[in-house]
Symmetry: C2
């Protein structure tokens, strides 16, 4: 089944202990699409400037990602500059230029309308809601957000949460959204705002899926995937979006959404997040094969299973 994703397609300048890269292709929708494309058909909605050319287009095409929803306008693409020199788990933003993204009005191509899965990557919740409402027939809607929207655009974000089946956020965002430091209590509070499923990402420690009312014993309705213990984290940019792509892409590839498919989706999410960190930008995802993905899935099983 097809996923439509709306989000940023951008250029990133990244500095990590492993080096520096100028103006890599980046953006949440880019990482999500590339990661999800190993599992299912992906269709992107985004806006880019005149600096987005055939070379960038080719990265999507090589993974069969549908780019008809990428709008080309006058000006420059969204640009972000960040550093992981102090902390590999959290980028320090040095510069953000919205550029053409400032006036982004998502338009949904007719060819995308039969998508059964919708992913609302981290953008203005007003836009997330608009896209959500334009695609009422989808089977499963997932989304991401960030501290900025949680703090300063809460009412708009709360409207988005009402329409989500799955929310994917990190520890800090979950605690901030729920105003509660205990993750189990925070998860319950966040699910009360709408999403039936909540994935809390713990960076290098993996992620936890909370589902249902999470009442009763705390282990009963949760699932934890580890992250890969990596010998060298070259660049964590896009790891969270690649997790989302692996997770949601795998779900979209399944004939039925069972508890088992959600568990495997968590593993595939973590697998894709780990690959994203192995090279700068999208380099690793561009060269990846499905065989490598499945091999790492089995390493994850070895890493966590008793027998």
């Amino acid at each position: 089944m097809s996923i439509t994703v709306v989000g940023s397609v951008a250029y990133d300048t990244i500095e990590t202990p492993a080096g520096r890269r100028e103006r890599c292709l980046g953006g949440a929708a880019t990482y999500f699409s590339l990661a999800a494309s190993f599992f299912t058909n992906v269709r992107v909605i985004a806006v880019v400037g005149e600096d987005f050319g055939p070379e960038q287009e080719a990265v999507f095409k090589a993974r069969n990602v549908d780019t008809r929803g990428i709008e080309h306008t006058a000006g420059k693409s969204f640009f972000w500059e960040g550093s992981y020199l102090e902390n590999l788990n959290e980028a320090k933003t040095r510069n953000t230029e919205l550029n053409v993204f400032a006036a982004f009005e998502p338009k949904i191509p007719d060819a995308y309308r039969d998508s059964e899965f919708l992913f609302l990557a981290n953008i203005d919740p007003v836009l997330q809601r608009r896209v959500r409402e334009s695609m009422p027939g989808v089977k499963l809607v997932a989304g991401d957000t960030m501290n900025y929207w949680i703090k300063d655009h809460r009412p708009a974000l709360l409207e988005v949460l009402k329409g989500l089946d799955v929310l994917l956020i990190n520890d800090t965002e979950a605690r901030m959204l729920a105003a509660n430091n205990n993750l189990v209590q925070a998860a319950r509070a966040v699910m009360a705002l709408g999403p039936r499923f909540l994935v809390i990402k713990h960076g290098e420690y993996g992620a936890t899926l909370f589902h249902g009312s999470a009442k009763g014993k705390s282990g009963e309705r949760t699932f934890r995937t580890p992250a890969m213990p990596l010998e060298a984290v070259i660049d964590p940019t896009g790891a969270g979006d690649s997790f989302a792509g692996g997770f949601f892409g795998y779900l979209a590839s399944q004939p039925e959404l069972t508890p088992g498919s959600f568990r495997r989706a968590m593993f595939y999410g973590s697998v894709m997040g780990s690959f994203a960190c192995e090279r700068f930008g999208t380099e690793r995802l561009e060269q990846l094969t499905r065989a490598e993905i499945d091999e790492r899935f089995h390493v994850f099983r070895e890493l966590t299973h008793l027998d």
Copy 2:
């Protein structure tokens, strides 16, 4: 099989967001013994003052822990005061009084000499080494240490590491000991110092077992256990020592030390650490049953296994 443990038996004054307790029974050897006692016979070597009376003795006796190696001397027992008000994952020490511990000279009762397992809890590495050398016939030796010994008593600690089969430390300690921020690289560097097995504890995110040379693909010789997502962390004091007790106690209960027994030991360690946090001090461990432990073990399996 029997474990001999050497370490502190102490009084703790603890403050957490859930409240404050004055002079609870504590100390690494206490938590370790109580946790391990659910799996095997445990024998303690420690020193206490005149403030350690029948009421404290009874806590060990109720779990069939052999206390003949607890030396009673004039003075007061080791005392620690700490606060978790700022960070539930890391205590802020407010006060430490070594008291009778300052002149501790571990003496090994003859009745302990047939122990096949030895645990060197976090004490002066000079004493750890002395106990290790006094019990050359043991089958498996594990130990713990802390930032203070790593920073200021490194040569003595390095001697201890040469005689250890298993070292259990946390993320910060592993990075400090190896002078390397990448945990996989740090693990390899620490194992090169002696221990064949290294357990790195990640607090609320679980723990990773590294074993063998850890060469080849990074997932091949590692195992991750999650921690329990707890709805209320009342007091994390002793969680690491309880992890060690569950881990090592389970290993000592096994007829053979197979990769499978190490994996299950990691789960039992994490199970015991999670119980320790549910009440102040040793309260939860004192009231625990083996049935509750095995029930939580199964919750851990549910929490991590694909099917």
